[in-house]
């Protein structure tokens, strides 16, 4: 059973699993998705890309940042049947640039660009509030927020 002790100003409560099974009645204030102060996800409320999203890692800020931005923007706003089909040149530029910096953009560039496309479509479907994308503490260039486990694993420190 749960019990409680008081040590000076500090209160200690021990709880069992059963005690915590009932749903909480603590009230939390609903979040405003358009709150400008909050950390935004990859896609801003107005539909633009948040280049400062931690999920992008260093992609938008590195030496190939401008190429990446062009390619990704083109893809994001693409209205084609096959999304991004007209952006091949942009992606090629980006790839060429990245090949110049193998240290920063390790081998799986093809995978990265395709992952990036995959992630943007999945992320745009569910724009998350800042809590899901908390501040980065390191700068592994993770390009996707989704299930790119292998990508993350394979990326060496950068």
């Amino acid at each position: 059973m749960s019990y409680c002790k008081q040590e000076g100003k500090d209160r200690i409560i021990f709880v069992t699993k059963e005690d915590h099974e009932a749903p909480s009645n603590a009230e939390l204030i609903a979040d405003d998705p358009n709150d400008p102060y909050e950390e935004q996800g990859l896609i801003l409320p107005n539909g633009d890309i948040n280049w400062n999203c931690p999920c992008l890692g260093g992609m938008a800020s590195g030496p190939c940042g401008s190429q990446f931005k062009e390619a990704f923007s083109c893809f994001h706003y693409s209205k084609e049947e096959v999304k991004g089909s007209e952006c091949i040149d942009n992606f090629r530029n980006m790839q060429e640039c990245m090949q110049r910096y193998p240290e920063l953009y390790p081998q799986e560039e093809d995978k990265e660009s395709s992952q990036a496309e995959a992630s943007s479509s999945s992320v745009s479907a569910a724009p998350t509030e800042g809590s899901a994308l908390p501040p980065e503490t390191d700068s592994t260039p993770a390009t996707s927020t989704s299930d790119s486990t292998s990508l993350i694993d394979n990326q060496t420190a950068s």
């Binding site: 800020s61 940042g65 390191d138």
Partner: protein, 744 residues
């Protein structure tokens, strides 16, 4: 030039003497000739036999020698001038093809503290320096003006932009009138002696002769230093009013590391740590093609600090001190550097880079900041102007007064731990000594104690930790938890001495003796002092920025702005947190969050500090916690605990989430599917382990201002939400339910 003066001075009395003697002789002869019969005592006359002749000869010899010397000098100067003229003409013609390198060609310039004015690249007047006298005049005349701006010991004589009328007034021992030159300064200060320059210095020249040189020279120090890139060189040359001298030759003379520092950068970040890097990234993300210059006095590019007291110590790699890479729990390796060197561009290429970039200037300290003029000065007197500036200078470790006063011997055996080099040296020390004492019971001290305690068995090393509080993390954790933590630290192999106030430290027989106030004596080989951080506010004085008296650090507003165009982030920023009030935070994630926010605000976002940063600590494999907000043990707390199973350890948390550092899983919303499935044996109930896992709420006026997640991981977003709401909750147990502490 000085030589001439001294020579002249020596000659002058002689000359005077000889002339007076001559005059006297004349008078005497005149007198005697008019009054022959006068009985004049025998006087030594200059024109007399024997002795007189000798003196006479001496005088003639001396005067003759002086004249000959003067003639020789004049001849040499004329020759030299014409030679130099030839050289200059050649250089001018060839200059358009090549880019000037910074190597100071002449010895004069290789000043240890070469100043912006002195230069190798010469923008010269095409007109000849025909007059030897001009140079001597120029030398003294320009020197007084040059003196404040030029630091050269050998007397440099800036090459005279030749006046239109190069009168060859050769007169070594006299001053000559300088013909009206384009340099009024020369006229303005008709110096006395024609001291020839000892070594003529190749100086920069104003291309348009209309600019009076004192103006230029006095302008030089305040004026931004121009790059020596061809592009930059052209534009100043083209500018009619600003004939700027070329870029400074860096200290060290013609060394290969003499960088060309850009004279202006749109974004200047002072300090090369976590906050600075986060800001650089933020700026680059938001301002396409931004040019960011990071200036740091460390010799390393930006790196993260937490592994220096944690992961790096647990590495199996013997060369870890060199590689600074660490293997995470899941085998993934990374370096402590945020980015490899190829990420950054060279400082001199910054202005020319088409898409901008981030440049890091290492080994340079900013010593002066001119807020009105929007520029800073480095320790080698380079000036860099900026549009927006971030101060992210962090801090320096505090030291105990007793240690500082204890003398050189003790200081040599003391480590103040903060940087990569401290890690390297402590690693070396730990392998070579028998006993290390850590003074300080906070985050750093406890983490280092645990890390070293781990090594104590391998290396036969005694690890002692002493602090004035009652238990580890005494200022952070409530007492019961602090005591529990201390027991855990002890089980890591650390000798913990609590309630220890250091009274004195002496070095005896190559060992340190620490005497405590209560009389206890601790003998050890090496001390690590982890007693806090002193925020680095050196620039506050010159910049006129406010320093907070309560928390230390630069006082900034909620948007991290100190003044227009100046922001402060990281450990050095005392900022206003809208939710929690004014504070200063010394944690890694705060550096990232504040750095990023500062970067956003520097690019026009105008956002206040809103996203609460978190921090974490691991004390061995069994104890780990994440925390957010104000976590001060003096506040009333409410702790809700469940019994811990083996699954609730930091190690398990990282394995499950498939990432190495727990911070990664929190920040880079990475893989949710576990890399390695957990196969843990059924757990043994640890009866003494009362505080296995839980949540601790810190309250201020009944509002939750801080939360610790004790061995409960990946729930930081909920904690952040609770703090953000800032609500008064009647029953915190209900709030604790939100965390599902019993689940994994």
């Amino acid at each position: 030039m000085l030589k001439c003066r001294t020579v002249w001075k020596k000659l002058a009395p002689l000359a005077r003497a000889s002339s007076t003697v001559c005059r006297q002789n004349v008078r005497r002869t005149g007198l005697t000739s008019s009054r022959i019969p006068a009985c004049v005592p025998v006087a030594h006359m200059s024109t007399g036999p024997a002795g007189g002749g000798r003196e006479n000869q001496l005088y003639i010899l001396l005067v003759g020698a002086a004249c000959v010397g003067g003639a020789i000098y004049t001849y040499r100067t004329v020759k030299g001038d014409s030679q130099r003229y030839q050289d200059r003409i050649e250089e001018i013609s060839s200059r358009s093809y090549k880019r000037a390198t910074a190597e100071p060609a002449t010895p004069i310039q290789s000043e240890p503290s070469a100043v912006d004015a002195t230069e190798t690249e010469v923008i010269l007047e095409p007109e000849p320096e025909a007059a030897p006298s001009l140079e001597p005049e120029a030398a003294p005349s320009l020197e007084p003006e040059a003196a404040p701006s030029l630091e050269s010991e050998a007397a440099p004589s800036p090459e005279e932009p030749s006046p239109p009328a190069p009168d060859a007034e050769v007169a070594v021992p006299e001053t000559t009138e300088l013909p009206p030159a384009d340099e009024p300064v020369v006229e303005a200060s008709p110096e006395e002696s024609a001291e020839p320059a000892a070594v003529p210095v190749v100086e920069e020249e104003p291309s348009p002769p209309s600019e009076p040189s004192p103006f230029e020279l006095t302008e030089l120090p305040p004026a931004p230093v121009v790059e020596s890139e061809p592009a930059a060189a052209e534009s100043p040359a083209a500018e009619p009013t600003e004939p700027q001298p070329e870029v400074v030759a860096q200290s060290g003379g013609p060394a290969p590391d003499s960088l060309k520092v850009p004279s202006h950068t749109p974004y200047l970040l002072i300090g090369g740590g976590t906050a600075s890097f986060a800001a650089a990234r933020s700026i680059r993300a938001r301002d396409p093609g931004a040019k960011v210059l990071i200036v740091t006095d460390e010799s390393d590019p930006p790196y993260m600090r937490p592994p220096l007291s944690k992961e790096l110590w647990f590495s199996d790699d013997p060369s870890v001190t060199e590689t600074l890479r660490f293997k995470q729990w899941n085998g993934k390796e990374r370096s402590i550097y945020f980015q490899p060197p190829s990420f950054y561009i060279n400082a001199e290429e910054l202005n020319g880079a088409e898409n901008g970039g981030v440049a890091v200037l290492t080994g340079k300290k900013v010593v002066h900041m001119d807020v009105r003029g929007n520029k800073i000065k480095l320790d080698d007197d380079t000036e860099i102007s900026y549009d927006k500036c971030l101060i992210a200078t962090g801090g320096v470790p505090r030291n105990l007064q007793v240690i500082e006063r204890a003398g050189e011997e003790v200081m040599k055996k003391t480590t103040l731990f903060r940087k990569i080099e401290d890690f390297k040296s402590l690693d070396k020390v730990s392998r070579n000594v028998k006993s290390i004492t850590i003074i300080g019971g906070g985050f750093l001290g406890s983490e280092l104690a645990c890390a070293l305690g781990r090594r104590s068995t391998e290396y036969d090393l005694e690890v002692v930790q002493m602090f004035p509080e009652k238990g580890n993390m005494g200022k952070v954790l409530p007492e019961y938890l602090s005591n529990w933590t201390t027991e855990k630290v002890k089980s890591e192999g650390v000798k913990v001495i609590s309630e220890a106030l250091v009274k004195s430290v002496v070095c005896k027989d190559d060992k340190l003796e620490i005497k405590l106030k209560d009389g206890r004596l601790v003998k050890t080989d090496h001390i690590v002092a982890a007693v806090g951080l002193e925020p680095n506010v050196d620039l506050a004085k010159s910049a006129g920025l406010e320093v907070d008296s309560d928390f230390g650090g630069f006082r900034v507003n909620a948007e991290l702005q100190a003044r227009s165009n100046i922001w402060v982030a990281g450990d050095a920023a005392c900022f206003y947190d809208i939710r929690l009030g004014r504070r200063r935070v010394e944690h890694h994630d705060h550096a990232v969050v504040s750095g990023r926010l500062a970067g956003e605000n520097m690019t026009g976002a105008n956002k206040p500090y809103w996203h609460q940063s978190m921090f974490w600590s691991d004390l061995g494999p069994d104890v780990g916690y994440e925390a957010i907000g104000i976590v001060d043990s003096s506040l009333p707390t409410v702790g809700v605990f469940a019994k811990a199973t083996a699954k609730d350890t930091p190690k398990a948390a990282t394995e499950k989430s498939g990432t190495g550092i727990r911070s990664e899983s929190e920040t880079e919303d990475t893989a949710t599917s576990p890399v390695a499935s957990l196969t843990l044996a059924p757990t043994v109930e640890q009866h003494q382990d009362e505080y296995g896992k839980g949540v601790i709420f810190y309250l201020r006026d009944k509002v939750v201002v801080g939360i610790i997640l004790w061995n409960v991981f990946n729930r930081m977003p909920i904690a952040r939400k609770i703090i953000k709401d800032g609500e008064e909750h009647a029953d915190l147990n209900e709030v604790a339910k939100l965390f599902n502490i019993h689940d994994d």
